[in-house]
């Protein structure tokens, strides 16, 4: 068996398991964070510190009775949560989790069973495609179908309103998101996420050059993941449960879980594009080998992502929900013009300083 292929399979499986685990424990962390912020204790019954709570939740979800409403469109009703999960899991392929790792054939156990190709350096990433960041945008823009189809197929007015809100919200905020990302692409000159990360060597992060772009991107990320203060599609004070009002059992679980999946992925993209990815300050002054730096880099990257997730939760439990017209006004009349201004100033800066 070819070793490069084995390494790729390991990375893909590892990334998938990691994404699942982080998303799973995000649900636990969300409860703990909200509990701390509201001066409560939070889940503490299942396991130490309630650490087995996600498992208990999962079992509960699977055991519940499944109800498909009589007037609902059966096929599309089932397709909705499937699509939400599928698109949520697709983006993690282009995220560079770490730098290149050099592996000598002698140091690999059972190396006589593998064939080694030309290259001995392996990237810690599932796929380094030259249009990586656009791929992420493509998947995000398709991601709304799960909510829309599920909401429409439920044959419920509240679900339908939630689905319509979700679609118009996502279309509106995608524009500002794309415009703020174009400024970074102009600076980097590449659409590959790996190249964007490589250019932020050490402490030379993109956030120092793109503070406004970062804020716009962050706000849009909140809107795209349907997190508070933009969780209007599932706004329970107006729409009962929004697009998942009629869902029960694990189908509901998938919808809820996809949100945490998306949150993890958007934090990873923010960390990679604006916070230097696996780069950390003074990484070349430690006197460590390249492999050691690469492995530390993976943990640094995960640390940045987890910090991002905690930030998302902090915002959720701090800010009240927007009203729908305020949401549209913010998207179209404030964020998009700001993103265009940011784009112009970035272009000016590139001409003046390079």
């Amino acid at each position: 068996m070819e070793f490069a292929l084995l390494f790729k399979i390991l990375i893909v499986v590892g990334v998938f398991v990691l994404t699942l685990l982080v998303a799973l424990y995000s649900t636990w962390a969300e409860r703990k964070v909200s509990a701390i912020m509201q001066d409560r204790i939070g889940p503490n019954r299942a396991g130490p510190f309630g650490l087995l709570q996600p498992l208990a939740d999962g079992v509960k979800m699977f055991m519940k009775e499944e109800i498909i409403p009589g007037q609902a469109n059966r096929a599309l009703f089932i397709l909705g949560p499937c699509l939400a999960m599928l698109t949520a899991g697709m983006t993690s392929a282009i995220i560079p989790w770490g730098d290149v790792i050099t592996i000598n054939p002698e140091s690999v156990p059972f190396s006589e069973y593998f064939t080694f190709g030309e290259s001995k350096t392996y990237i810690v990433q599932a796929a380094d495609i030259n249009i990586g960041i656009l791929y992420a945008f493509g998947v995000v823009s398709v991601g709304v179908y799960g909510i829309m189809i599920g909401g429409w197929a439920s044959n419920n007015k509240y679900s339908l309103l939630g689905a319509i809100r979700a679609s118009s919200q996502m279309i509106s905020y995608e524009l500002a998101m794309g415009l703020s990302m174009i400024a970074v692409i102009m600076m980097t000159g590449s659409l590959s996420v790996r190249e964007i990360v490589e250019q932020q060597d050490g402490f030379n992060w993109n956030i120092w050059y793109q503070p406004l772009g970062f804020i716009i991107f962050l706000i849009c990320a909140f809107a795209e993941t349907n997190r508070a203060p933009f969780d209007l599609p599932e706004c329970e004070t107006e729409l009962i449960g929004g697009y998942h009002t009629e869902y029960s059992s694990m189908k509901l679980g998938f919808f809820l879980f996809a949100e945490y999946f998306n949150m993890f992925i958007s934090c990873a993209i923010i960390a990679a594009v604006y916070f230097g990815g696996y780069n950390f300050p003074f990484m070349h002054d430690l006197g460590l080998s390249d492999n050691a730096i690469a492995i530390i880099g993976i943990f640094v990257f995960l640390g940045k992502v987890i910090f991002g997730i905690l930030f998302f939760m902090w915002i959720r439990w701090t800010l009240p929900r927007f009203r729908y017209d305020q949401l549209m006004k913010l998207g179209w009349q404030i964020l998009i013009p700001l993103a265009i201004v940011n784009l112009l100033f970035t272009g000016l800066g590139i001409i003046v300083f390079k």
Partner: protein
């Protein structure tokens, strides 16, 4: 291998396109159009044009069809809205459809004569595409941009309240 992929993709594309027309439920039609767009993106990838493939997904599947679906959701689909059309409209539709078919056949006939080897394999990569767009085809590119802008301004003027 590539040839088989092409055949499978083509079968999916044509099948989904046909299902789009023959579906009774408009929501199914929209979903099949989305599937068609995805398989066309697959064709672009087979032609080594990743940028075009991803733009196809973002623009058509991700933005335009979301708008279509949103508009469809506002409609009451339980009522049958299919009313019988007058004979004149039927004839007009037949004539214009036939003319479109004629144009398509003509364009395919002239298109088939291009030998596949005369197209560069890396023409669809973003760098080459950008170079071509901003040097050789700069004027048509900018003209299209102005056209889109005027369309946008027109739509806003039409919907604006006095």
């Amino acid at each position: 291998m590539l040839l088989y992929l092409f055949y499978i993709l083509s079968a999916i594309t044509v099948g989904c396109a046909l299902l789009t027309i023959f579906s009774k439920n408009p929501v199914y039609s929209v979903l099949f159009v989305i599937a068609t767009f995805f398989s066309i993106a697959g064709h672009f990838i087979l032609l080594n044009a990743q940028f075009l493939a991803i733009v196809q997904v973002i623009v058509y599947a991700g933005a335009i069809m979301v708008l279509f679906l949103t508009v469809l959701m506002y409609l009451n689909l339980n009522k049958s809205v299919e009313s019988s059309k007058p004979l004149l409209i039927k004839i007009a539709a037949m004539v214009s459809g036939g003319l479109l078919f004629l144009v398509l056949i003509a364009s395919f006939k002239s298109g088939l004569s291009i030998a596949p080897t005369s197209v560069r394999g890396d023409a669809g990569l973003i760098k080459n595409l950008g170079n071509t767009l901003f040097t050789e085809y700069l004027f048509p590119f900018e003209a299209t941009a102005v056209l889109f802008l005027s369309t946008m301004a027109g739509a806003i003027t039409l919907t604006r309240k006095k």
